[in-house]
Amino acid sequence: MESFTPYSALIGGLLIGAAAALTLYSNGRIAGISGILSGILVPKSVDALWRIIFILGLLAGSLLAGLISADAVVVEIRTTPLLTILAGLLVGFGTRLGSGCTSGHGICGLARFSRRSFTATLLFMTTAIVTVYLTRHLLGVI
């Protein structure tokens, strides 16, 4: 299996885990990206600054990793613009309604033994797998 990349996936996971641990340990915050981003869009008084700093750091980290190894930043999007927009709307709306995404529920919530996060993670993983099956195999629309 040529696409199997266990070491880089594990190292990346460790980095993400370290980032979430540092965020909680230093600032007492949950490193959930959908929550952090949405809090900037609708600023509640003094709450926006820490979020902006974190996201600037995230962009810098991505940029830095790309500078160190240019072929690490591969972004292959195979959906049509219309489907990309639909997916974006669903991800934005769904993560707010469901109070979190892969990072907030999957990495942070599970580590707190949150029943809500366990349910959410199980649901979005399953739904995403079913969606890929339906769109790529059964219906073949993507």
């Binding site: 641990a21 999007i77 974006g88 709307l89 707190r112």
Partner: protein, 145 residues
């Protein structure tokens, strides 16, 4: 008074920037930033690439012990308290929201963190996704908050 301070200590800001930096680098190194790779991971009946399960595995390897340890202390290093979610019950919003998110994730292969990190590629499709994602968040805000 338990409102968060208007000013961040510079150490708090530095820690947040470093955390963001590690997070962004982790998304690139792991391959999560690539929707093609993510779809390969979700495509269990196709040519399945299980790599990305190790992203969650590696993340939890750190956060499971680290969170237990951190939450034993009375407060974080640079803040007066922990800001943790207070809701405990599994409700209809959590369930339907997670399902909608899963459908969107399965269509494009992007979840919020990787989509933001991929903005640095200046790829137009990434911007299309992120603008739509922000639109979805604002729509939720208008309807429910």
């Amino acid at each position: 008074m338990d409102s968060s301070p208007a000013r961040l200590q510079w150490q708090a800001g530095a820690a947040l920037f470093l955390a963001g930096l590690l997070f962004g680098a982790g998304l690139v190194v792991s391959g999560m930033i690539n929707p093609g790779k993510v779809i390969g991971f979700l495509d269990i009946t196709g040519s399945w690439d299980p790599s990305l399960i190790l992203v969650m595995g590696g993340g939890l390897l750190v956060t499971l012990p680290a969170f237990q340890l951190a939450l034993k202390s009375s407060r974080p290093l640079f803040e007066s308290k922990f800001y943790l979610p207070t809701l405990q019950v599994v409700d209809r919003k959590l369930i339907s929201g997670s399902i909608l998110f899963g459908v969107g994730w399965g269509i494009a292969g992007f979840c919020p963190g990787p989509a933001l990190a991929a903005l640095v590629t200046l790829d137009g499709d990434v911007y299309l996704f992120v603008v739509a994602m922000i639109g979805g968040m604002l729509l939720h805000h208008r309807l429910f908050e």
